[in-house]
Amino acid sequence: MSDTDQYFHLTLGPVQGFVAQARRTRDFWAGSFLLSWMASVAILAVQKQGGDIEFPIPDSDFMKAMTGQASPEQLPQQGSVPNRFKAFGAKVGAEFSPAEVVEAMQEAWQTLCDQVWDKDLGPNLDEDQRGLSRSIWDRQIQGFWEVSWCLTQQKEASSLLDRRKNWRSHVQPEEPGVKCMMMEGWQELSGAERPEQKTLDGFWRPLRESLRHGATDLRPGEYLSALGFVKRRFVRHFRDFSASLSNGVTLKGWSLPSQVPSVLYMAAAPWYAQALTRARESQGVREALHHFHDKAEALVDFSETAHPTRTVAEATAALELKPHYAGIDGVVFHPSQLEQGAVRFGDAQGPRDVLSALNDLRRKAELPEPSSFYAMVIMDGDSLGSQMSDPDKQKAISRGLNTFTRTVPEVVREHDGFLVYAGGDDVLAMATVDSAVGMAAALRKTYARIFEEENEGQRPGKKITTSLSGGIEFAHIKTPLTFVLNDAHDLLDGVAKDQTGRDSLAVRVWKPGGCHLQWSQPWDHLQKGFSESDTDQLRDLVARFREREAVSPFTNRFMFRISDLLQRLPASFFASGGQAEQANRHLVSRLLRAELKHSGLDLAGNGERDEEVEALVADLLALATPHRRRVHEDSAQLAATQAFNGDALKLVRFLSTEGMA
C-alpha cells in the first residue's frame, strides 16, 4: 500500500424504510432497484475520482448499463438486479473527496425524481396545487436518504460503518397532513389537512386519469407521498432518463418491465401449472381452460406476462398456447377476489363469468381451489462480517459473493421463484408454497459449493468459515406485504440465526388470524440421511403424507388429534432427561402410531404398511424435536433440545394440503 492510499466505506439507507414499505410486489421491487441504482451512482463517483472498489465486486453489466454502455442483452432486468451495494469499501487516493460522492448521489436522485415530476405531475396540476405539491415533493425528496461514510488509512478496518451506525444522526423532515398509504409517516402529495375523501379525490382522480401509460398504477382511493409516487412511477420513464452530473459522469436509463408477479399470481401458480398440464391430457379440460381464458381476458390484462413461473411458462409452451397466457393477472384464480364483484372490478357480470369458468375448469381438471398462500424466502450468509477484517480473506470473500450473486437468479428461476434482490450474501425472493423449501435448500447448497471452491485456494488457517441461513414466510394473500417483509428479517435473525444457531432454516406461516406456526431446524439435521439426494427430511415427509393422503384422506384428522394430545402433556414431559425422557419419547411414539392407525389411513393390516407407519412417526418426531447448532473451536455440533415443537406437525399438514406437487 502506498502512503497516500485511503480506504473509503459508504452506506446508504434507510434500507428497510425504503424497500419494505410496499403495497404491491412492484413497489417492493422498485425500492430494491432504486437502492441499487443509488449505490451504483456512488460507485461511479468513487471510480471517477480514481477509486478502486474492493468490496463487493461491482456487477459489470449493471455498471455498464448505468452509463448507457451495455448491449441490449446485458441490460439488468427484473429479478436479476441485485441490491448489492448498500455498503461498500474502496481504495482511494489522498485527494479523495467523500463530499463529491454524496453530492453525485443527491444530484442523480434529484434528477430522476424531477423526471417523474415533469412527466406525471407538473403538467397535470393546476398552478395553485402545483406550488403546494412541489413544496411537499422537494422536502421529501431532499430529506429522505441517509448517506454515511468513513475514511481511513487502515486497510484492515472493516467495522467502521458498524461503528458509524451506532450514532444515528439523520433527521427526516416534519410531515403534516394526511399521510402516504405506502411510506409510513410521509405526507401525501395533495397536501390535504384532513382525510376527507372529497378533497383527496379532487386531487388524485384527475391525476390518475391523466397519467400516460400504466392505467392501473394508481388505484382509486390510493394517495401517495413523493417517495411512494417515485417508487410507483419511475419505471415508466426510466428508459428516457439521462443525467449529466457535476462530476462529469453521464447516467442513462434503460427499459425496465413494469410487471412483477403479484402475490395472487404466486399463490395460484402451482395450481395453474397443474391445470395447464391436465389440459394437455384431456380435451374436456382444454375446452374448459380456453373458456376460462376467454372470460378472464375480458376482465383483466396479462399483467404477469413478464415473469411467469418456470413451470407455468413450460406448461403453457407445451400446450402450444401463446406465451402471454402464462402471465394472466393472478386475480382471476381466486374466488375470494372474484366474489368481490363490482366493488373490485367495477362490473359485477365479468367477475361472475370468470368465477363460473374457473369452477368449471376446476371440476373438469379435478383440482381443488388454488392455494391462497405464497412464500417469501430470505437468505443471509453467516459469520462473514468478522472475517472481512482479515486482509488475507477479503478477496476470496468478495469473489465468492460475486459468484454467488451471479448464480442466484438461475437457482431462483429453476425453483419457480421471482428474485427481488441478490446482493453479497443477501437473497430475497418470492416463491410458491411448493417450491420455497427446495429453493432455500438449493441456495444454501450453491453457497456452500462456491465457498468450498474459494477455500481450495486459501492457505491453512485462512479458510473462510461461512454458511447460509434461511427464513421462509408462508403468507396468506391478505397478509400485508410490508408486514411479511419486516417479519422475514425477524425470522431470519431471531430464529434461524440466534435461536437455532445459524446454518439453519426457520419457517413461519401467517394466516389471516395471525401466526399459525413457527418452526426451525439446522440444515444439517434436515438433511441427515439425504445429503446425496435432492430432498430433505421435511420435503420427503410432506411427499409421503401427500401420497398417503391421495389414497385415504387422514392428514387433517390425524394432525388435529395429535396437536390436541401434545397440548395436554405437561411441559416437563420431554425435559426430564435420562431414562425417563427416553421412556416418555417412546410413549409419544406409540401414541402417534396409534393415532395414525385410527386416523383413516388405509393400512390394510400388512407388515409393509406397519413399517411405513413406524417410519412416518419416527420422522415426524425428528422434525418436531428442535435442534440447536453449537459451534466450538470451528466445529459445529447439533444438539437436540429437551422439548417438542407441535408446530412441526402443523407445518407438515400445511405443506401437504396447500401444495400441489
Partner: protein, 392 residues
C-alpha cells in the same frame, strides 16, 4: 401542590396507531406503537379531569370555556398541567429505557449476556473526526444492539455505575406484550350499517396477563380542590379505538433516582447523559440530534472534533454519542379531526458522552450536579428527561 400519579392498566387490549392512515383500498394493516405516547395518555387524563370539573366539552371545543381551557390545555398545550414523570412499571417496579450502548450476545447454549459499547479512537467520517462507539474486545461477533427493551431499577443502577447490567435486569417488549391481529369495519352510525370497502386490519397490544404491567404518568398542576374530589379508581378510553384502561390515581411520592449514587467516579473519564424520554432538540430552528445550544469544535482542517455546551450551567464537551434512529411520532388530533404532524425526536435510551472542560470539575461532582433533569423542548409534556451515569 402535590403531584398526582396516574397508573394505567389495560382492561382488554390496547391500540396506539402508527403514523399511517387507515387504508381505504386493498389490504392494509396498522400496527400499534408501544409504550403509549404521552399525548394519548395526557388526553385521557385531561378528559377525566375535565369531566370531574364539570367542563362543558361543547363549549370547550368552541373555545368558550376560557378558565378551564387555561389549566386543562389542549392537544398542543398542556395548560397548567406538567408531566413530571412518565414510565413503564412491571410488577410495581419502574422500568428505564435500555441504554443504546447495550449489546446482547446469544451464546451457543442459548444463554444470553450483555455487553456495552466502548468509545473508540476518532475516525474521519461524515460527522467529522470523531470517536465512534465500538464493540468491546470482550464481545464476540454476532452481538446485537438491544432494541425495544428496558432495564429494571437494579439494571439501571449497574449501568449508571459504569458496570454491565446483569441480563436478568433486561426486560424486552416481548416480555410485556404480544401482538393480536384484529379485523375492523367502518361504521355508518347514522344508518347503522357497514361502510362499503372500509375493512381494515389492526394489530392490538395484548399485555401479558401473568405480570402486573402498567404505565405511570405523574402530573403536576391539578387544582387542589379538584384533586380532592378525584376518584381513586376509575376507567378511561385510551388510544386509537378507545380501548378501556383501568386507572388508579394517588398522590405521587418523589421518584427514585436512577443516577449513579454512592459510586466512586474517581477514575471516570466523564459522564453519560441518557435520555429517559424522547429528546426534542433543535439547532437553528431545525430538529437535530445534538444537545441544544452545543456548538461544534473543529480542527484546522475543518473536521468537527467535538461539541461544546452547558447543562445546568456546567460547561461540557460532547465527545461521542450512541443512538438508534430518531423516533418519528404522529397520531391523531381528536379536537381538530386531523392527523398530527409527524415529528422526529431523539429516542429514549440515546446516550451523550461528555467530558468536563475545567480541571475543577470531577466526574463525580458532575454526576451530583447533573443528576436527573430535563433538556430541550416540550418539557411540560415530560419530554427530554434525562439521567446520568459514569463514563469510564
Amino acid at each position: 401542590m402535590t403531584a398526582l400519579r396516574w397508573r394505567f392498566r389495560p382492561v382488554d387490549t390496547w391500540f396506539f396507531r402508527e403514523a399511517r392512515p387507515h387504508d381505504a383500498v386493498g389490504v392494509g394493516q396498522l400496527d400499534s406503537v408501544f409504550p403509549p405516547p404521552i399525548t394519548t395518555l395526557m388526553g385521557a387524563i385531561r378528559t377525566t379531569l375535565g369531566d370531574q370539573a364539570g367542563v362543558d366539552w361543547h363549549r370547550f371545543r368552541r373555545g368558550e370555556a376560557g378558565e378551564a381551557h387555561e389549566w386543562l390545555g389542549d392537544a398542543s398545550d398542556t395548560g397548567a398541567l406538567r408531566v413530571r414523570e412518565w414510565s413503564l412499571r412491571l410488577d410495581g417496579e419502574r422500568l428505564y429505557p435500555a441504554p443504546a450502548d447495550l449489546l446482547v450476545e446469544t451464546q451457543t447454549d442459548g444463554e444470553r449476556r450483555l455487553h456495552r459499547l466502548t468509545i473508540g479512537d476518532p475516525v474521519h467520517c461524515d460527522l467529522g473526526y470523531v470517536a465512534l462507539p465500538e464493540m468491546p474486545e470482550t464481545a464476540p461477533p454476532g452481538c446485537k444492539p438491544v432494541e425495544n427493551a428496558w432495564l429494571t431499577e437494579t439494571g439501571i443502577q449497574q449501568w449508571a455505575a459504569g458496570e454491565v447490567p446483569a441480563v436478568a435486569t433486561l426486560i424486552e417488549q416481548r416480555d410485556l406484550v404480544t401482538a393480536e391481529p384484529r379485523l375492523g369495519i367502518g361504521r355508518n352510525n347514522a344508518r347503522g350499517t357497514v361502510k362499503e370497502g372500509l375493512l381494515y386490519q389492526t394489530r392490538h397490544l395484548r399485555l401479558r396477563h401473568d405480570r402486573d404491567i402498567a404505565v405511570d404518568v405523574v402530573v403536576d398542576g391539578v387544582p387542589d380542590a379538584l384533586r380532592e374530589s378525584l376518584p381513586q379508581h376509575t376507567s378511561v378510553r385510551l388510544g386509537g379505538e378507545g380501548r378501556e384502561a383501568g386507572v388508579e390515581i394517588e398522590a405521587a411520592a418523589d421518584p427514585a433516582s436512577g443516577a449513579a449514587a454512592g459510586v466512586s467516579g474517581a477514575s471516570a473519564r466523564g459522564v453519560i447523559v441518557m435520555m429517559r424520554t424522547p429528546g426534542v432538540f433543535a439547532q437553528q430552528g431545525r430538529t437535530h440530534w445534538l444537545l441544544p445550544d452545543f456548538q461544534v469544535e473543529s480542527d484546522d482542517q475543518g473536521w468537527a472534533r467535538a461539541w461544546r455546551g452547558e447543562i445546568r450551567e456546567q460547561p461540557l464537551r460532547l465527545v461521542s454519542a450512541c443512538m438508534g434512529r430518531m423516533l418519528r411520532r404522529g397520531g391523531w388530533d381528536q379536537k381538530a379531526h386531523r392527523p398530527r404532524t409527524v415529528t422526529a425526536s431523539v429516542a429514549p435510551g440515546s446516550l451523550f458522552f461528555l467530558e468536563p472542560i475545567s480541571p475543577d470539575q470531577t466526574p463525580q461532582a458532575l454526576i451530583d450536579t447533573l443528576a436527573e433533569g430535563q433538556i430541550g423542548g416540550d418539557a411540560a409534556w415530560g419530554q427530554g428527561q434525562y439521567m446520568t451515569g459514569l463514563w469510564f
